[in-house]
C-alpha cells in the first residue's frame, strides 16, 4: 500500500496542543504545516466536481470537532439494522474507492479532516458506557472515514484503544481497507477490540479500490492483529457481480480462512454494491470507465440501486455456502437488506435491531 503524503497540513489554531498534532508533526516531517485561525472550507462555495473531491483528499485539515462524536449508525430506511454506534474521529478518507458513498455524503464538505479533541471523544464514550453498564455496545469508527488508513500519521489508535479495552460493556470495531496496523500491535485489546477488513477479490481492488492495500496485504495485517490478541471481522461489502465473480470470491474466502483462525472472527457481514441515483451520477463523472454501474441494478424501496433481488439473494446464498463450509458457526449478517432478503438467504429475519445487535455480541 502506498504511503499517504498530503500536500499540506492545515491546522486550526487551538489544535496544536493535541497529541494528534504532535504525531502528525513527527510522521510528516517533509510536509508543510500551516496554522490558520479558522478553516474556511473552499467547498462552502463550490459543490463537488470530479476534481474537487479528489483534490480534497490530498490536503489534511486538523480541527476541533464541534458536535457530538458518538452517534447511532443511521442504517438505511426500511432495512434490518444491527444496532451499531459510530464515532467520527475524522471525515473523508485518503483512499479513493470508485463506489464510495462519501463522494455523495461529503459532497459539500469533502475536506480530509481529523479532529484534534480526542479527549472530548473519550469523555463522551465514558459518559455513554458508564451510564449504561447493563447494555452492551458495538461502536465503530469507520463510518465516514477509514479507521486505520491515517493511523501511522495521527496515532489515533493508541489514544483510544487503551480506554475502550478497559470498558466492560463495549466492543470497539476498527474497520479498514488498509494494512496500517503497526500502531495496534503493542497495545493490549483485552478482547474488547475488533479489527475488521472490507474485503474484495484482487480484481475488484485493482479496478475500483484505488490507493487501498492489496488483498494479500490485508490478510497479512489481519493475521498480525490476530496474533496480537485482536478479534477480527470481515465485511464482504460491496460484493460486486461480474462474469465469473464466483470464482474470485470463492478463492478470496479460501485465502481468508487459510490465513486466519475463523474461531477468532467476531463477525462477517455481506452487502452487495449499492448506490443512490445521485451517487451514480458522481461515480459516472469521477470514474467514467468503471464497470460497476453496468450490473443489473434496480431501484429498491429505500431509493438505493442494488442488483435485482433474485440475483443478489443467489449471490448471498453462494457466499454463505462458501463461508459455512470453512467456518460453520461464525456469525454472519447482512448489511442494509430487507427482512425478505434475510429470510430468503438465512431462512429467518431478526425480529428487531436489538435482537440482531445481541446476536453480534460475542461470548467472552
Amino acid at each position: 500500500m502506498q504511503l499517504f503524503q498530503p500536500q499540506e497540513v492545515i491546522v486550526e489554531r487551538g489544535s496544536e496542543a493535541s497529541p494528534i498534532y504532535r504525531n502528525l508533526r513527527t510522521a510528516l516531517p517533509g510536509v508543510p504545516f500551516r496554522i490558520v485561525d479558522a478553516f474556511a472550507a473552499e467547498s462552502d462555495r463550490t459543490s463537488v466536481s470530479a476534481g474537487t473531491f479528489g483534490a480534497a483528499k490530498r490536503r489534511l485539515v486538523l480541527t476541533r470537532h464541534k458536535g457530538e462524536f458518538l452517534k447511532k449508525c443511521p442504517g438505511s430506511e426500511g432495512q434490518v439494522c444491527c444496532n451499531y454506534f459510530v464515532i467520527n474521529f475524522a471525515s473523508n478518507c485518503p483512499m479513493d474507492c470508485s463506489y464510495c458513498y462519501l463522494q455523495e455524503y461529503l459532497a459539500d464538505n469533502p475536506e480530509l479532516k481529523v479532529f484534534s479533541n480526542v479527549g472530548d471523544l473519550l469523555n463522551e464514550g465514558d459518559e455513554l458506557l458508564s451510564k449504561h453498564r447493563r447494555f452492551f455496545f458495538r461502536i465503530g469508527t469507520g463510518e465516514i472515514t477509514d479507521s486505520l488508513a491515517l493511523d501511522p500519521y495521527i496515532g489515533f489508535a493508541r489514544e483510544v484503544v487503551p480506554f475502550f479495552a478497559d470498558q466492560p460493556n463495549v466492543l470497539l470495531e476498527l474497520k479498514t481497507k488498509s494494512d496500517c496496523v503497526d500502531g495496534l500491535l503493542g497495545l493490549d485489546p483485552k478482547d474488547r477490540v475488533v479489527v475488521s477488513w472490507s474485503m474484495n477479490p484482487q480484481r475488484v481492488i485493482d479496478l475500483d479500490e484505488h490507493e487501498t492495500a492489496s488483498l494479500s496485504e490485508r490478510l497479512v495485517a489481519a493475521r498480525r492483529c490476530q496474533n496480537a490478541g485482536y478479534r477480527l471481522g470481515f465485511h464482504f461489502d460491496p460484493i460486486v457481480e461480474y462474469p465469473n465473480w464466483e470464482v474470485d470470491y470463492e478463492e478470496m474466502l479460501n485465502q481468508i480462512f487459510s490465513s486466519v483462525d475463523w474461531r477468532k472472527i467476531a463477525w462477517l457481514s455481506m452487502g452487495v454494491l449499492r448506490a443512490t441515483p445521485s451517487l451514480k451520477r458522481i461515480i459516472r463523472d469521477r470514474f467514467p470507465r468503471t464497470q460497476l454501474l453496468t450490473g443489473e441494478q434496480v431501484r429498491c424501496p429505500d431509493g438505493k440501486l442494488r442488483y435485482f433481488q433474485p440475483l443478489r439473494v443467489e449471490m448471498y446464498r453462494r457466499m454463505l455456502g462458501w463461508i459455512r463450509r470453512a467456518a460453520p458457526t461464525v456469525k454472519v449478517y447482512l448489511c442494509m437488506e430487507s427482512k425478505e432478503v434475510w429470510e430468503q438467504v438465512f431462512g429467518f429475519a431478526p425480529s428487531c435491531e436489538k435482537e440482531l445487535g445481541n446476536q453480534m455480541v460475542p461470548s467472552f
Binding site: T294, V298, Q309
Partner: protein
C-alpha cells in the same frame, strides 16, 4: 446534425442543462444516432435520461458503440414498423433497450410471466410481481361481483396454489436456479 441543432432542440423542449451537456459529451456518431430517435419519436426528458443511462451502460459493458446499438436490427425494425404509432414505437424500443441492459432480470420476469400464463387463471384473478422483482412477493388480486363468484375464484386460486408452476415462481423470486422457459409449455401438477 450539429451540436447547435441538438442544443436548440433540447432548449425548445426545456431539457435540463445537465441532460443536454451529457448528451453533447457523447461522440458525434452516438449523439446523432440518439438525436434521430429522439426527434422521430418525440422522446420526453425522463425517457431520454433512461435511454442515455441504459445505452451508456450497455456500451461500456459490451465494449460497443452507442450508434451500433441503436442501429441494431430489433431497434431498426421497430422504428420502421408502419403498424406502430409513435408512442408504441417508443414504448417497444425502450423495452428492447431495457431488456438488453437488464438481460437476466428480463429473462426472470419472462419466466415468471410464462408460468402465470400457464396457470390459465380467469381474468378476475390477477397475479403480478413487483417492478424489478424487488420484495420477492407474488401479488394476488381478486375481483368478484358476488359471493358465489368469490367462492369460485378462491377454489380456482387454491388449485393454482398447489401447482408446480407456483412453486417455481417463488423459486425464481428467491433466486433459486429454475429452468427458464421462454414459451408456454404443458401444465404440470405437483
Amino acid at each position: 446534425m450539429s451540436q447547435t441543432e441538438i442544443r436548440q432542440y433540447a432548449q425548445s423542449k426545456g431539457f435540463h442543462p445537465q441532460t443536454l451537456e451529457r448528451w453533447l459529451g457523447w461522440d458525434s456518431a452516438a449523439r446523432q444516432a440518439l438525436f434521430r430517435l429522439v426527434v422521430d419519436l418525440k422522446v420526453g426528458e425522463n425517457h431520454l435520461r433512461d435511454l442515455m443511462d441504459w445505452l451508456e451502460e450497455i456500451a461500456l459493458r459490451e465494449q460497443s458503440m452507442i450508434e451500433e446499438i441503436l442501429a441494431g436490427k430489433p431497434i431498426v425494425d421497430l422504428a420502421s414498423d408502419p403498424r406502430l404509432g409513435r408512442a408504441d414505437k417508443l414504448k417497444r424500443i425502450k423495452e428492447e433497450i431495457r431488456r438488453r441492459r437488464f438481460p437476466r432480470l428480463a429473462q426472470t420476469e419472462d419466466a415468471i410471466r410464462v408460468r402465470i400464463h400457464e396457470l390459465k387463471l380467469r381474468p378476475e384473478i390477477r397475479l403480478t410481481v413487483p417492478f424489478g422483482l424487488e420484495g420477492g412477493r407474488l401479488q394476488v388480486e381478486l375481483s368478484a361481483s358476488s359471493q358465489d363468484e368469490f367462492k369460485r375464484l378462491i377454489v380456482k386460486l387454491a388449485e393454482a396454489a398447489t401447482d408446480n408452476r407456483v412453486r417455481e415462481i417463488f423459486a425464481l423470486l428467491a433466486g433459486h436456479a429454475v429452468e427458464i422457459r421462454s414459451k408456454a409449455s404443458h401444465p404440470v401438477k405437483s
